[in-house]
């Protein structure tokens, strides 16, 4: 089973390092746990971005991904989810996938809309907020996975026919904790966006909205009563 884990390049941390996105680490943990149980999965980490955005891919290689691929494209960090979904879907079609995993939300915009856009471009089923994942029973007919999701006041276990795009949220499994070392940058393959299939990509940054500076700071208080009063102040 070919599993592609879509990653993004989150903003650098306080030390200037770029790590895995928080939800991306959850998605990677899910698929690596499948591999650890001996399930026949081949894991490819995929990221759309520039040459300086490969750190998450190197982390994924160090954590156990079989392959890391960067979809070459500069300044995709400010692209909207329609564009990113189109770009990722183009790469996924080239690579081939039975299952696509993503984090629920990115660390920068935090919308959680790229997975649905990618699924739509691929024509795959999309299920969000997956907490647990395992390979489905082959006897049930066709390739499938079993997932745990919540919604409508219910916690449900679902069987999902493949191919599918699943976005992963926090659950009982901790995020992937790659070792301090990282994979070799030269092990990251590059797929060019500069081919005719991808000329339809249009960047529509206005879909993200106009940036505004927050108008307030942090108020420091010295008692619980003052905290409650500050919280409830109109």
């Amino acid at each position: 089973m070919n599993v592609i884990v879509c990653l993004h390049a989150p903003p650098p941390d306080a030390g200037g390092r770029v790590e895995l996105g928080r939800d991306d680490a959850l998605a990677l943990a899910q698929v690596l746990s499948l591999a650890a149980t001996g399930a026949p999965v081949r894991v490819t980490a995929l990221l759309a971005g520039g040459a300086t955005d490969t750190a998450p891919l190197q982390r994924a290689l160090a954590a156990g991904a079989d392959r890391a691929v960067r979809l070459a494209g500069e300044d995709l960090g400010s692209a909207d989810f329609h564009t990113l979904g189109q770009v990722l879907a183009g790469g996924i079609k080239r690579l081939g996938a039975d299952l696509v995993l993503t984090g629920m939300r990115s660390d920068d915009e935090g919308l959680g809309a790229v997975p649905a856009s990618t699924a739509r471009q691929l024509g795959f089923v999309h299920v969000s907020a997956v907490e647990e994942l395992r390979i489905g029973d082959a006897a049930a007919g066709g390739a499938s996975v079993e997932v745990v999701v919540r919604g409508g006041g219910r916690k449900r276990r679902l069987r999902i026919s493949l191919p599918a795009v699943l976005s992963v949220t926090a659950g009982p499994r901790p995020p992937a904790a790659p070792p301090e070392r990282t994979g070799n940058p030269s092990d990251v393959e590059v797929l060019s966006l500069a081919d005719p299939e991808r000329t339809v990509v249009r960047r529509r940054t206005e879909f993200l909205g106009q940036p505004e500076t927050p108008s307030r700071g942090t108020e420091t208080v010295t008692s619980a009563a003052a905290l409650i009063a500050a919280l409830t102040r109109a």
Partner: protein, 387 residues
Amino acid sequence: MTAKSRAKLIQRSRAKPLPRSRGNPDPARRSLPNLLVPIDLRDGEPTLPSLFALSEGRRVAHVAGATVFAIVFTESRLPEAVAAQLGRAGADKVLLCEGAGLGAPPLDATHGAALYAAVERVPPLLVLFPAGGAGDELGPGLAARLGGAFAAVADLEVGEAAVSLADGVGRVFIRRWRGDHTGYRRIDPVELERPVVAVMPAGGPPADLGTGDVEIEVIECLTPPKAGVVELDSEADDQAAVALASVLVTVDPALGPDALAALAAAAPAGVTVVDPTAAPAGLAAAAPRLAIAVGARELRLTNTPRGRVAVVAPPGGAPPRPSADVLWPVPPSGGAFWTELAAGLGALAPGAASAAPPKVPSGGPAKGPTKGSSKGQPKKPAKGPAS
């Protein structure tokens, strides 16, 4: 409908199938000033965040010259009392999407086509999902189909449009935090010329800005022939109250069980107290208007610019995240500082006066991961398969 009912069935129609094309639809059809609110039903009743989303829609509807539609997925008819409740919260009309399996918790695979049918019937300016509902599941897919924008947890704002518009149409904006809380994003649906799909926060009690007189329109929806999803088993969601909470208090388990027990025992109705390690999925889905993070554990919450977050930093704890609105750094002599906080929780109850008298918590262990109450909290298993 009986003679007593003020809910009136005005039309019954059949849904069109989903378009095969992946191209974006004609934007001119998408700019009508309709506000759509998909309702989250639990045990047949709308959740409080659903009613709040309706009341928010009602609040801005007169500015936008808009009509507010409540969308309800169901396998059967909607009780008149529920329709009237939706009307009082702010709905002008109820769109009832009827079809086999639509009473189950929504998934894009099983409910996406029905939602799109409703949107085809009533082209929206805004689609407002309630907090803790199906917004994360259905919202992005709908925005992708419409070629519109998506805002995960946002406020509705009323303001001056950059370009004057007839009758004030379009002076409604969507404002959200960036995911990293470094700034806001503001979307003008009219300037965008595309619909905006957004998830509302869990606000306080609805203001009942509407009336019980509401029209009902039924759309007969067919179940997708190949949904690709089968429900294997189902149980009540023990984290549902967290996802629906409008006032949320998280207590770092590193503080010990006494802190959680004291705060949980003191929590009034409408205030949910939770160990964040026990309800990660519920927290990821939550969008409270007020939140207090007690302890050094970093709280990753999705809220809106109008929402407020406080951090209680215990002695010796790590510096709190900069996006907190209020910070109480407890001094080393603070002792069991949570008892002081517990005494003030009553003032956070939805509808409570800000000067509510403090009370002394009685203590006692918390049962399960959460304590508190929410109208949307499930009481018994819902019926219906996933597909």
